[in-house]
């Protein structure tokens, strides 16, 4: 079969789309996670908490689909990555799932009973449902940058040689905390857009400020670690970017410092880390000057920049192996077949714009700050 787009280009496009999905998840559901993680602290009374919950109440469910779709898209376009990473990070994935199962029910069930103990329980459910995924996703990205301890046998079956606690190294903890701070900042910025003026907003700004400062520090420390901490892998030997998806046919070695290679080769990529810093600073200024658009715009840019930095630093690697670099998964050896990538691209080109249009419409209908007064009159609110 003849394809209008060659295999290598499709792989590149799908690598980009994977990034788009992860960033879209962080941009939309990211603030839901951030709001959940700060809920018990920025809102003290039941009324305040209800107000905060209702700032995301109607839209978190749609936002969460970016995560589900991310999982489905990795399965369809990068089956090796799906198979190796989720089975390797098994118990960490279970933690994320358990937390993400708590979140929907906490939203829905909290308002069904009036008892303070009942409500407090689900408030902490929302905290767990926000904090745990944010932390574990960051830790996972940290481990991907370090390389995961897996190897593939000649049947391409993956064997993983690590433990849950082994995932928590100094570097991956930096990445995990950076992820939490980034999303708490994004959540606080969302509250500055959506919550009514009052004590909640004051507290949210305080939390956002702390998170922004920590983000800047952690992002810088993480960058230094990537440069001088001995991280990095490199492809050696012949590389057939149009070839079959078989990881064992690429030669890879561990190469400390190699995660900086791309910035020398393609200086425009420095835009990503720059965006990470500038966006966070802008969000900080926005929070101080009480400019909601600046705060939210800044935290959004920061999210784009920080996630892109991780992806671009590793390119073309997606999941390197620390115990057997030969098994490493890259853009050129871990994708689906040419036909599947092509079909999925067509489907995405049709439906993704549609999703964006109706999502925008839903946000438009629900536009405006959430007020505590509405809680008393509107039976639909949580």
């Amino acid at each position: 079969m003849e394809f209008p787009i060659d295999f290598a280009t499709l792989r590149l496009i799908w690598w980009g789309l994977l990034g788009v999905l992860l960033i879209a998840f962080a941009l939309t559901d990211g603030f839901d996670l951030g709001v959940g993680a700060v809920l018990p602290f920025v809102a003290r009374t039941d009324e305040e908490r209800r107000m905060v919950i209702n700032t995301v109440g109607a839209t978190w469910e749609g936002n969460q689909v970016w995560f589900i779709l991310g999982g489905g898209a990795i399965f369809a376009a990068w089956p090796f990555v799906y198979a190796v990473s989720f089975s390797g990070f098994y118990l960490a994935m279970f933690l994320v799932l358990a937390a993400l199962i708590m979140r929907p029910v906490s939203f829905k069930y909290r308002s069904k009973r009036a008892s303070p103990a009942w409500r407090s329980f689900w408030d902490w459910g929302l905290f767990v449902g926000g904090f745990v995924p944010a932390l574990v996703f960051g830790v996972a990205v940290g481990n991907v940058l370090l390389g995961a301890p897996f190897r593939l046998d000649s049947d391409l079956r993956s064997f993983y040689d690590g433990t849950l606690l082994g995932l928590f190294t100094p570097f991956s903890l930096i990445a995990g905390l950076l992820s939490v701070c980034m999303l708490v900042l994004h959540g606080a910025a969302w509250l500055s857009v959506k919550a009514e003026q009052g004590p909640v907003l004051v507290r949210a700004r305080r939390f956002g400020t702390i998170a922004a400062v920590l983000s800047l520090v952690l992002f810088a420390v993480g960058g230094l670690y990537v440069a001088y901490g001995g991280l990095g892998y490199r492809i050696t030997g012949v590389l057939d970017i149009q070839g079959f998806s078989n990881p064992l046919r690429t030669t890879v070695v561990a190469a400390p410092g190699a995660w900086l290679d791309n910035y020398g080769l393609y200086p425009w990529m420095l835009l990503a880390p720059a965006l990470g810093f500038i966006g966070t600073l802008a969000a900080l200024v926005g929070l101080w000057r009480r400019s909601a658009p600046m705060a939210f715009g800044g935290s959004s840019l920061a999210t784009v920049g920080i996630i892109s930095t991780a992806g671009l630093s590793m390119f073309p690697f997606i999941l390197p192996s620390s115990i057997d670099p030969q098994s490493s998964l890259t853009v050129w050896n871990a994708s689906s077949s040419h036909l599947t990538l092509f079909i999925m691209l067509i489907v995405t080109a049709i439906f993704l714009p549609l999703v964006l249009v109706y999502t925008a419409w839903v946000y438009k209908v629900l536009w405006g700050r959430t007020s505590t007064v509405a809680l008393k009159t509107n039976p639909d609110l949580y």
Partner: protein, 527 residues
């Protein structure tokens, strides 16, 4: 592969999938019933229909949220627990899951928030549109999931690629229009409609038995009776259609669920009831109805339906051919340019899966003795008594549903909503569709064993390289979490039913008939 890891992975998948599917059918059906109820409101503008829609919408919401929560597990569990499966068939199987997210789940999840929060922000028609989008999304979601599952039952449009050691798609349209997937889709969503209709019927019957909310309950009951009658007829007819589809694709499943050990002269009889024994390989005390089986399975009176013994003999031949394919594949792995090995593999490629069945007993299938091959051929027979009985329970409930809704429809037409014996039957029938649906899934998935993908990949090869300790951790974790949530869910449903449809208006006051704005605050009570 540690067999305990495989067994525990299967246990976990069964638990989480069956649990997930406790919530899905009600979502599938109730979403469309909400569309019907709300359409009536939009057309008649009578506030009672708004109350009806909102009340069933509240119950829908409590149920929907657990369906979503447990669905997250399903999306990631393939990679977590079935890593080799994910690699081996991800090129085909991943696509429908991704499309489900993009086309269906986004639709339902984005609009469901607006459905609950948009009553005072949208016009009547606008809100009805939103409700319809939710219903459309949930049902499209089922379509893509069943295309994925249908491919596992009947893996069309794909071939094994020795260079990537996996199945790859060759004809996407064949995957999409897989007849097994289509039959399963309509059968499954119809079952969801029946489930929701029984739920609405039963809860309405409860109110009528108590003499509460009579006007509300009668109207709800009428909707349920009409919707349920159509759905229960279609679920049985289309279930028969999926039985028909089996004849080409999953002869073994059909033979097993009918406990048909030997090919019989056409047209075959149907064993209505009996005691099949795996050990003796025969059915004791079978009561036979002549001709019926042949008619259902082949739609003719002259084509035979193959029996288990004959199918095992076929499997034996395919295993022998599969060994040759396996040997050729090892040759290609050693030297990917070897033209002889590639030629041989080409001829025997479709039996590779059968060769892999031997890996359960011997590391290298090429070492298998004729005795082992014969024994392995019998591995292709699923658990006959389990299939035999789950099928009979499922089909029995299906037929009862037609009787139930037929009666309900007649009583509602005659305005005899208060027939007490029937109200009791309707109330007690509430759990039945769930039983039938869960048994249906056991039949479909247990009946596919020993295959993860029929004829392509044995289940025991699909599991991840995990430890028994890891699996017990997650099985216990899921069981505790899911168990607790089930208790909460049922109590909240009962609590909402007890409060009744008018509780909200008593607390917040009736909504202004025309104005979009919410009613004035009367009592700032619990939402």
């Amino acid at each position: 592969m540690d067999p305990a890891v495989v067994d525990l992975s299967r246990l976990q998948f069964a638990l989480t999938a069956l649990y997930h599917f406790l919530f899905v059918p009600l979502t599938l059906g109730l979403s469309f019933m909400l569309v019907i109820m709300e359409s009536t409101y939009v057309m008649t503008r009578r506030p009672i229909w708004r109350t009806i829609t909102r009340f069933w919408g509240t119950l829908f919401g409590i149920n929907f949220v657990l369906g979503v929560a447990t669905g997250i597990t399903m999306e990631f569990q393939f990679g977590m627990n079935w890593s080799y499966y994910s690699h081996y068939v991800g090129d085909i199987f991943g696509a429908p899951l991704a499309i489900e997210g993009l086309m269906a789940f986004f639709l339902e999840a984005t609009f469901v928030g607006l459905m609950f929060f948009g009553w005072d922000k949208l016009s009547r028609v606008g809100h009805l549109f939103v409700t319809f989008m939710v219903a459309l999304g949930t049902n499209l979601s089922a379509l893509w999931i069943l295309i994925a599952n249908g491919w596992m039952q009947n893996p069309v449009g794909s071939t094994f690629n020795p260079d990537t050691m996996r199945m790859e798609v060759s004809d996407f349209m064949a995957v999409l229009f897989n007849p097994v997937a289509q039959a399963k889709f309509v059968h499954t969503v119809s079952a969801g409609y029946v489930c929701a209709a029984v739920f609405v019927l039963g809860v309405s019957a409860f109110y009528l038995l108590r003499g509460k909310h009579v006007g509300f309950a009668k109207r709800s009951m009428t909707v349920a009776a009409a919707f349920g009658l159509a759905a229960s007829l279609s679920v049985v007819v289309l279930g028969d259609q999926s039985g028909y589809a089996l004849t080409d694709n999953q002869k073994m499943k059909l033979a097993a669920l009918e406990a048909m050990w030997h090919t019989e002269p056409a047209p075959a009889g149907l064993t209505l009831i009996g005691i099949p024994s795996m050990k003796d390989r025969e059915t004791h005390y079978g009561v036979q109805v002549p001709w019926v089986m042949g008619l259902i399975a082949t739609r003719t009176i002259d084509k035979p339906v193959e029996g288990i013994f004959e199918l095992v003999a076929t499997a034996e031949t395919r295993i022998e051919s599969g060994i040759i394919a396996y040997d050729a594949l090892e040759g290609i792995k050693a030297n990917s340019a070897d033209p002889v090995a590639r030629g041989v593999f080409e001829t025997h490629r479709r039996d590779l899966g059968y060769g892999l069945l031997l890996k359960r007993h011997v590391a290298d299938p090429r070492q298998a003795t004729p005795e082992l091959i014969r024994q392995t051929a019998w591995d292709t027979v699923p658990n006959v008594p389990v299939l035999f009985w789950t099928f009979r329970v499922m089909a029995g409930i299906g037929l009862f549903m037609i009787a139930l809704f037929g009666t309900a429809f007649v009583l509602c037409s005659l305005r005899k909503h208060d027939t007490r014996w029937f109200l009791w039957v309707a109330l007690l029938a509430i759990p039945l569709p769930w039983v039938a649906i869960e048994f249906g899934w056991i039949l479909a998935e247990f009946g596919r064993q020993p295959w993860a993908v029929e004829g392509v990949l044995p289940t025991f090869l699909g599991a991840s390289s995990l430890t028994v300790a890891q699996l017990w951790t997650t099985i216990i974790g899921f069981t505790v979490l899911y168990g607790a949530l089930a208790v909460v869910e049922v109590r909240l449903l009962l609590f909402a039913i007890k409060k009744g449809p008018f509780h909200e208006q008593d607390t917040f006051g009736a909504p202004a008939p025309e104005a979009a704005a919410a009613a004035p605050a009367i009592a700032p009570a619990v939402a």
